[in-house]
Symmetry: C2
Amino acid sequence: MKYQALMLALSATIGSHWANAAEPIETIQPIKITEPEKVELGKMLYFEPRLSKSGFISCNSCHNLSTGGVDALPTSIGDRWQQGPINAPTVLNADFMLAQFWDGRAKDLQEQAGGPIANPKEMGFTHELAVTTVASMPAYRERFAKVYGADKIDINTITDAIAAFEKTLVTPNSPFDKYLTGDQQAISADAKAGYEIFKSRGCAVCHNGPAVGGTMYMKMGLIKPFHTNNPAEGRKAVTGKEADKMVFKVPTLRNIELTYPYFHDGSVWSLAEAVNTMSDVQLGQKFSTEETAQVVAFLKTLTGDQPQIVLPILPPSTAETPKPQPFAQ
Amino acid sequence: MKYQALMLALSATIGSHWANAAEPIETIQPIKITEPEKVELGKMLYFEPRLSKSGFISCNSCHNLSTGGVDALPTSIGDRWQQGPINAPTVLNADFMLAQFWDGRAKDLQEQAGGPIANPKEMGFTHELAVTTVASMPAYRERFAKVYGADKIDINTITDAIAAFEKTLVTPNSPFDKYLTGDQQAISADAKAGYEIFKSRGCAVCHNGPAVGGTMYMKMGLIKPFHTNNPAEGRKAVTGKEADKMVFKVPTLRNIELTYPYFHDGSVWSLAEAVNTMSDVQLGQKFSTEETAQVVAFLKTLTGDQPQIVLPILPPSTAETPKPQPFAQ
């Protein structure tokens, strides 16, 4: 009940607080790439299907940069079409998150990147085979030598490069950011009204910071239970504490129009329904149809410039490259 | 036996013929894009996973522009991880082919593009649902209206746009093309020797034209049987003629270093082995180890500039967009 108490206390004061202080949302700045060779290498690895057992699945398969950094499925498709356990979070602006995965079990993007490669239900590979694969190609050896020094291809450098690329995947210049920085015409009157609701009714208690989320963990079903068939236990899986059951990292709302379906179980496809569910189970409030539409109008202003990605050209396999195993047992 | 007789007759004269005539291989010219809006629309559709039942498979899944326009698997992975029947041919330079698919059952790229969308083992969708999907998004409606006129979203315009994009996927400026146009330093002495073998020993009888293939159909196993577990019957499936059994479109050798594994059954991973098999079963010849290495050196000079693709940003689904069915029955 401590969350609930905290929440109610915060909700009561939040409107007046933010009326007199900084906005709860910070703008996103365009990225300045300081290590272009590492980023380019990371981009190759991000699109590299040979980091999977099948030779078919890359990071981009489930965090598709054509579609908001997600696969737009309730839960992902993994090796041999296995059904993933949870909705794939967007890779866009992910470096703003306090930790990675819904339960925060990876401390940063580098640690996260190693997970799916070796997860039997996702890419189904091993770190050892991933290293052997990358090291089997002269073009990769040259690039790693340039970025990390000779003979430095291991799972740490592979995931470091992927993380370096992912850190560039930010989405600046959203209409809302333009509004925040003074352009009153950048968003509609409905969106402005929606933002006021977002702040005054409590949404921004959890959804704040540059990514409009990702700054804290919070219980899903704070005021009322959230009904789901998804067995994920949230932070409890990390901490072992019963109090952390159903406590998840607050997801980013940046580009939310692109990252359906919503919630950790991917159960909701419409933004209006997502807003209504959240106001109900997290805030114990019922928004009017107009209020919901206004909040949705606000949320749609959070779509920023999508990263412009030139598809990498990957080097050919060699005789030393492990063969893909798409169908073998 | 008519192929065999033809082949032997051609082989006997081929060296002297080409010594005094035009080269059997034509250079590939950079593409001039005359309809950029149609090409851009086609690129979006090429990367559009919502043209599949699962929402997970796009044209680019099996004709991956990061990896030579193929999936680099013996046979492809389709809807629900079904195993495809035949090796995915490269989309690169595909417009130079006399017809599409290994058996030539589609007359052109537009006709080809409709196949996988509706094939239950590939994208598993229907043309009707593909049209409904595309037409459900305002951004697509606008683009189609601009390119084709209002209310012109149908399977013909969808595949026309995809084909328009695919026609731009050519690979000029290969070392071999530079050599052909006069740069004697563009390829090694081994590659030059390999090219002479390629011409004098009969390879170029079938592998000719700008794509170094795709100008004719030919029996696989012309002189000796080609042993395979793959049940594909080749042109027989199109013509119904017993004489067309195991007759396939001659594949392009452009970018062959990238488009392993080889042959319609994807059974061979090394270029040297592919060359030896072809010299054996198609030409009834045994190349020395040195000759094989020289032909391989020549083949590797056929890798051209890969198309530089800026990943398209796809519009979000709407309430009218059919939901993906990745796991439903």
